[in-house]
């Protein structure tokens, strides 16, 4: 649509601090939940 009226340079310095916080929370949750399932696998014993 209005492709042509975008400023070529990034406008006012926008530092995505909040995004980094959200992403960090996500990674922490991911690692925690993933590890808990991985530990269930380990607890249930080998398969060969």
């Amino acid at each position: 649509m209005s492709d042509s009226h975008v400023d070529p340079a990034p406008e006012e310095e926008f530092v995505p601090r909040g995004t980094i916080a959200v992403v960090a929370l996500f990674v922490a949750t991911l690692v925690l939940l993933w590890l808990s399932i991985y530990l269930i696998l380990i607890a249930r014993g080998v398969t060969i």
């Binding site: 696998l41 249930r44 014993g45 080998v46 398969t47």
Partner: protein
């Protein structure tokens, strides 16, 4: 990254924070990958593979499938041949002493089934024409149900059996 671009002004440009996120997410995925590789190929937490093929129409006529059930291989090792069909496992119960290592072989003579041995990692798709194999070590006495976890028809919910792991009674 820009060598294929014909447009001089155009370039691949990512925000510096986003570039760092790309690195972090790649490290994260590689860490998961390494962990599961070690578990699967070094520690013995392996998935079923290509075992062997059978003819679902005649498989139940010849050994070992003509006599489903447990084989004592000696040294605490057992092989269990289980036939799946609508809507039961044959045999319905398998009894082993505690401390035994049981390798389950499964096949189906009709439709697809599943074989989920509760509280273990033995969880296999059972497919006509194929043999599925996984092993479990029973370190504790108790009863472990194996249930069909793939839809196989109207009576699917009733399809299950049990492994009875008997406590050591001081024999031997």
């Amino acid at each position: 990254m820009t060598e294929t671009s014909h447009d001089e002004a155009a370039s691949f440009e990512a925000d510096p924070f986003e570039q760092r996120w790309i690195v972090v997410s790649l490290i994260l995925l590689i860490a998961f990958m390494v962990t599961v590789t070690i578990a699967g190929f070094a520690l013995g937490f392996q998935v079923p593979g290509a075992e062997s093929r059978v003819d679902p129409r005649t498989v139940a006529d010849s050994p070992p499938w003509n006599e489903p059930g447990l084989r004592d291989l000696g040294g605490g090792e057992y092989a269990a041949y289980v036939i799946s069909r609508q809507y039961l496992f044959d045999p319905r119960t398998i009894t082993v002493p505690v401390g035994s290592s049981v390798t389950f072989y499964l096949t189906s003579i009709d439709v697809q089934h599943g074989f989920l041995l509760q509280n273990t990692n033995v969880n296999m798709q059972v497919v006509p024409g194929e043999v599925s194999r996984l092993t479990v070590d029973f370190d504790e006495a108790g009863e472990f149900d194996y249930i069909c976890n793939e839809f196989c028809g109207a009576g699917h919910a009733a399809m299950f059996g049990s492994v009875i792991v008997e406590a050591d009674e001081g024999g031997a």
